[in-house]
Symmetry: C2
Subunit: 348 residues, 2 copies
Amino acid sequence: MIMQEDREVTIYDIAKYLNISAATVSRGLKNNPMISKQTRKKISDAANLLGYQSNTFASSLRSRQTHTLGVLVPRLNSHFMSSALAGMENAANAHGYNLIIAQSLEEVEKEKRNVLTMYNKRVDGLLISLSANATDIAHLEPFFKRKIPVVFFDRVHPHAESTAVGIDNYDAAYQITQHLIAQGCKRILHLGGNLLRNVYAERFRGYKKALKEHRLPFSASLHLVSNLSEQAGAEAARYILELPPAQRPDAVFSANDTAAVYCMLALQAAGLRIPEDIAFAGFNNDPISKVIAPNLTTMNYSGEAVGHTAVSHLINHLKGTSALYDTNAITLRADLIIRASSLKRGAS
Amino acid sequence: MIMQEDREVTIYDIAKYLNISAATVSRGLKNNPMISKQTRKKISDAANLLGYQSNTFASSLRSRQTHTLGVLVPRLNSHFMSSALAGMENAANAHGYNLIIAQSLEEVEKEKRNVLTMYNKRVDGLLISLSANATDIAHLEPFFKRKIPVVFFDRVHPHAESTAVGIDNYDAAYQITQHLIAQGCKRILHLGGNLLRNVYAERFRGYKKALKEHRLPFSASLHLVSNLSEQAGAEAARYILELPPAQRPDAVFSANDTAAVYCMLALQAAGLRIPEDIAFAGFNNDPISKVIAPNLTTMNYSGEAVGHTAVSHLINHLKGTSALYDTNAITLRADLIIRASSLKRGAS
DNA sequence: TTGTACGCGTTATCAG
DNA sequence: CTGATAACGCGTACAA
């Protein structure tokens, strides 16, 4: 048990000390221009002297503002997510906001509980990237009902009154697939994620569009769905190796770099050459993509930018200072990075 | 500006609705056994019906407990840190605690500001990994003074009333260096970090101890200090290549995997063979260490475990349920993972 | 088992 | 420019 220390120093202590009212102290502490410069100085000095530290929730209780944003993500430990968090923290800090962070571990139930916790903490806004198998956003109703702004990022969901921050996954996947086709690939396997999530559904759509445009047949046997983990990548390799030679793909487009890399490693271990026997492209520009040999062609977009944009937008909305307050979707750029893993015919 | 919605539903609304007192509602909501089972049921039903959601800071204001822990790290976006955060979130969530997270970006000033913010939010405890060039922990005084528990993790600092969670960096570095020596390496370069931080100082000490034990000379020209970034790794490679052949190291022990890997890549690009010309060992078991060719020998320890342990310990302390409340240091295990990058003479 | 009454530290409102 | 006073929503002695 922690001992209860002596009472904390409050604005009343400062008031008493200076023989002024607590109201004046409160105002002075926030540099309210109504208070004379000298009084403000006196208050500030006394605060330091007495070791005063404001009590955020007493303030929140009264002002109905917590200056805290809730962040809810599927997992904290991926390169993209931690970059996004870093970007969020930067933006939040710059505006005097704090972040309260939780992960759903891809479990809808945990996501629901965390949403409620965030609500109970009365966050001023919520940033969320949905868990893999959430089918709807009914659990966000408490926020919608009270018009507390919600910003979806990365794994978004359509909602009239919320903003979505992400990239054009459809176009990105289209570009990647086209690039592989331009390299002469004709049987391109797609290593995809759960189609409930827009990011994976759209990457799959973009892939199919490119195939169609080039009159390449799409076959369900060339579309694997998984959680895109290291294991999933290795399993995909086993799947490929067990395919009859005639049906073997000559390229793989993976919806993330992790699965791509571990698929590559397993295929290489089995004696296949990359890109000669099978070309590879991933997604995310994860650090491992430029360490693997050959380097992995991938789609680059900045997690930091996504996070920073999402928070900046949210805070602008809260402060009502942005004309963007009713923007419904923010699409950040993503660039194809062509590396050796997909270059069947010399440099590009 | 966000419109102020209708007042929130409070325990008073529930009380009025059921013709009972707010106190009873308050107690019933927390399943206080003093309240009869049926009353509790009625309260719970009414709460659901009216859409009641508890207001955490009204509660915190009264109870002086926030059930929130502050987490302050140098950077959010490294593999180790995001794993540690994931472990912390797990442990916290399991005990009904929340995490408020900020990064110092290695700047002492930002660290100080964040510490104060955490204090003002009245976190129940603080978890901190110090920024690279913090020379003391005077800025934690507000916490110490009010006996709010502080737990250092990874980059720790001695303090009588705080706990430190980490690994034995001294021994780990000693093991790594010894392994390199056993492989026949005689001139081992150490790519180290800022010596103000225990993790780097101890890894350096362990390295020197191994050298000394094997009567290998230590030379300042074999100790590079940097921020261990990708660039720093590449620069180290340049440094090595510019050394007169006779002075070139035959091994590199880097205090993290990132610098090791980018040093390897640059040396390989210059035509050096690893491990034949120069052996490598890193630290952290970062994902890139098992993707680089040849795979990087490294020290494995779980960020998740560090984070989970730190939070569990802190919460146990808060709840006063642990005999460990006065433990001053928790050392987790770290294992040498020997991979091809350091094997000069066949498999081990 | 339940109700009464007050206070946690701050800010908003309304006077002066 | 400053002060008095009443909330904000909840928890807890104390009384019943």
